[in-house]
């Protein structure tokens, strides 16, 4: 997981997640408030440059992370630009009136919002983000699901990886038909583990005196207030710029 790796190793790893979250939120607001596509594109470019040069995320990695979303954007754009004409006999495609304008608006907004999202997730590990959500009074039960999900998904990933490898070593993926069967057995085995692992975690929680919601101590970030003020000011500037360039 490329985002995960970057989040733990970037220049801004130790900056308070509240500050980074505040600035990312301002990025979202700026993108949606921007009147013209060019402004939104400018915000997108600015956020991307900030993430690559400020936080020190390698540009190649940045692009690889953005690739699936860009693929969706490319496919989605097709239907914005072209219109399907069924009025005259055989249906045929033609350029939609105003399609390019719509593409510019939607495309620049998507890129801007994507850049804001990537700014946040490439600089902030998920456990910090969950800590931030805890601070923002997210329902306890939802937080419990998140914490356990984040931890357990790596356990499951490792299990899936190992089992896939072991199955491949015994020719389990030699043909598509065998692959479907092997994958089904793997998923069924994983399904059973859901209950076993949940039971084991429950016992382990009791052993450490738990009898209800899972409590964790959020990490302490130095200069958090200071960074939040800075991020807030920078965010306001960004929104101001986006609005004034209407």
């Amino acid at each position: 997981m490329l985002i995960e790796q970057a989040a733990y190793a970037n220049h801004w790893r130790t900056i308070s997640p509240a500050a980074k979250g505040l600035f990312a939120a301002a990025g979202f607001v700026a993108v949606f408030a921007a009147g013209r596509p060019l402004t939104a594109a400018l915000v997108a470019g600015g956020l991307a440059l900030l993430t690559v040069f400020g936080a020190g995320i390698p540009a190649a990695r940045y692009l690889r992370v953005a690739a699936p979303a860009l693929f969706f954007l490319a496919l989605g754009s097709l239907s914005l630009v072209f219109s399907l004409d069924v009025s005259a006999g055989a249906p045929h495609w033609h350029l939609a009136p105003g399609g390019l304008a719509q593409l510019a608006e939607t495309g620049s907004r998507s890129l801007g919002a994507l850049a804001a999202l990537l700014f946040l997730v490439l600089t902030t590990p998920l456990s910090d983000l969950i800590g931030l959500l805890r601070h923002l009074k997210t329902p306890e039960l939802l937080l419990d699901i998140m914490v356990l999900c984040y931890r357990t998904l790596f356990v499951f990933s490792a299990a899936v990886h190992d089992t896939l490898t072991a199955q491949s070593a015994r020719l389990g993926y030699a043909t598509p038909r065998l692959a479907l069967r092997s994958l089904g057995q793997l998923a069924a085995n994983l399904t059973l583990q859901v209950w076993q692992r949940a039971a084991a975690l429950h016992v382990a929680a009791q052993a450490r005196n738990n009898d209800g919601p899972l409590r964790f101590l959020a990490p302490d970030f130095a200069d958090s207030r200071h960074h939040c003020v800075l991020a807030g000011l920078a965010g306001l500037a960004l929104i101001g710029l986006a609005v004034s360039l209407r």
Partner: protein, 287 residues
Amino acid sequence: MNDCLLELQQVSYRYPDGSLGLNDCSLAIRRGSRNVLIGANGAGKTTLFQHANGLLRPQTGIVRYAGGAVDYGRAGLRQLRSRVGLVFQNPDRQLFSASVAEDVSFGPLNLGLDTASVRRRVADALQAVGMGEFGGRPVHNLSFGQKKRVCIAGVLAMQPELLILDEPMAGLDHTMQQELLAVLDKLHGRGITLLLATHDIDFAYRWAERIHLMAAGRCTATLAAGELGSHGAELAAVGLPLPEIITLQRALAGHGLLSAGARPRCAADLLAALNQTKESPCQFALI
């Protein structure tokens, strides 16, 4: 202060699915001692540990802690579990949070401590297991041995008097084992009573003061490690050989090279005795 910290008296337990857990099992752990519980897989070691921590409740018999019978009410359990720390075998089944420091904070927060104390305890516990620098790391990037030490820190942060570890050496390579043993030595030096499950008799002989044998849900004998040599029959009864080092020492004594009373615990000890030096270079000192 009671000399006997944990005591099981004729405890029996059968799982809901009908399989046998403990069968009339009695065991006593002395305060401040280093104990090994040794027996084959399925002998009931894990079941016994879960009784020590109040996770399971005896169907017959009694569990005593520091002299008093365990109170299975909410307050009693809370107290027992804060004094008896249990480290399970598989780290993946006991680490809740992907953040090291967060996971270690879980136990102390459950004890109802304030934030400042919890923070202090987390730092201390991570320091004690040699993971002081790892608080901000994600659990999934740690090695198996490091995960194991995080599990121990999570229990240490509750400041237990008795620390129980289920198969702590399993899956660790030589270096990790040495690191873990150093951690345990340090904890023992602080006065924490230790109880380890293992199935390696050579390790048990090298490390422990007292060795508890277990088979078929029952503790069949408790032996002072130093006297293990004269209890070959008890060992054989649970399918264990004498430690190799004892066999060697005897043969060498037979050749007049070692005194018959010598009690080397490991190969280094034996060599030192052979070389007539008085000091023991064995890492795990004699009692």
